[in-house]
Subunit: 219 residues, 2 copies
């Protein structure tokens, strides 16, 4: 019966039972790959992941937008989390001040944490003033092309200062908060952001819709 | 018709249409709570999350165990990720050396990152030698009781040194790697770990089963 013979011929040979995995003696366990490209092959069902990097003045609406986007993505079953300046400053970066060097280090750490979240299959929504182009470029360099979505959350300084949700502009104008971005420290706008959102013109929901459209995560 | 009247009486008044959410002018957006207790109310379907902290000598099997546990939990649909020393040293903590102060800072950062992952609903599996009790205690203090699972991955030094998967013991014995834990820097075993695993006695699968049983995440 040739058909059965043919079937037999293409059947895989019986496999020897796999030896139980044991801790390495002479054969070390495979190390996880260093950045970048971490263990992608082990995650065949890896959910869509991105770093969404919201940059802009204090009071521009970054944190509001970050939480609205997080909630929107979570409602659709995506894994998203917010990493914002206040939260990082309260924990991971609580040892840092506000000198240029410390701000750069704070941004570097945030970028690495975002990368860890992306590797874990999350959408990491980073909300940081991150005023300097060089530091945003260094953050971007940690990610595969297309995995780092730079979003310029833009309002005129006068609007941000009028909002002043934490009273920081008032303190900066009084001299109590030196080197405050927009007052006596520069903000370098992105030259080619993936998206620019004027939060003084658009309502939050519209900003979230534009973000979702540019993420390319959802149908 | 009294029944209908009663129904009418308990009906909620028609609600005015909700105003669209806009960026704050005078009313600032609610800030995310600082550590601890972050926005729990916003995550009614928050998946089970823990920090599993694997401590032990280099070569004890922490990273092997971490990846096996991660894979096991992911197969059951849980969100898990590994934070190990090599990976953190390649990225977030690449600015740190191996002085006592730098090691402590490395552990502090790992603990804060694990906390961020737990807040995001993940099981964060941390694999770090973390030789000193004080630093592990500081890490534990970042978590709610029961969310930090300290696991002593224990092998005799002779076994770890024979495994020597990265050749570090050899370098340490030759003097090329000063202050190496177990050789010329102490390891302080946990006094009351949630779990102790002898990886020279138990196969990986049995260690993973014992870990899973102690996590309390799965039926």
């Amino acid at each position: 019966m040739p058909i059965i013979e043919a079937r037999t011929a293409v059947s895989p040979p019986p496999r020897a039972p796999a030896a139980p995995l044991r801790f390495a003696m002479n054969h070390p366990p495979p190390l996880p790959a260093a950045l970048p490209g971490l263990r992608e092959a082990e995650r065949p069902q890896r959910p869509p992941a991105r770093a969404v990097w919201l940059t802009g003045l204090s009071g521009a609406g970054k944190t509001t937008l970050a939480h609205a986007l997080e909630a929107s993505l979570q409602r659709d079953g995506l894994r998203a989390c917010v990493l914002d300046g206040d939260r990082l400053r309260a924990g991971l970066s609580s040892d840092l001040g506000f000198s240029d060097a410390d701000r750069a280090e704070s941004i570097r750490r945030a970028a690495h944490v975002a990368r860890l979240f992306v590797d874990a299959g999350m959408v990491a929504i980073v909300a940081l003033i991150s005023p300097f182009r060089a530091e945003r470029a260094a953050a971007r360099a940690l990610f595969a092309p297309g995995d780092f979505i730079e979003v310029y959350v833009n309002v005129p300084l006068a609007v941000a200062e009028e909002r002043d949700p934490k009273g920081l502009y008032r303190r900066a104008r009084s001299g109590a908060l030196p080197r405050f971005t927009g007052i006596d420290s520069p903000y370098e706008p992105p030259e080619a952001p993936v998206l620019e959102l004027r939060t003084d013109v658009l309502p939050v929901a519209e900003c979230v819709e534009r973000l979702r459209a540019r993420l390319g995560l959802l149908p």
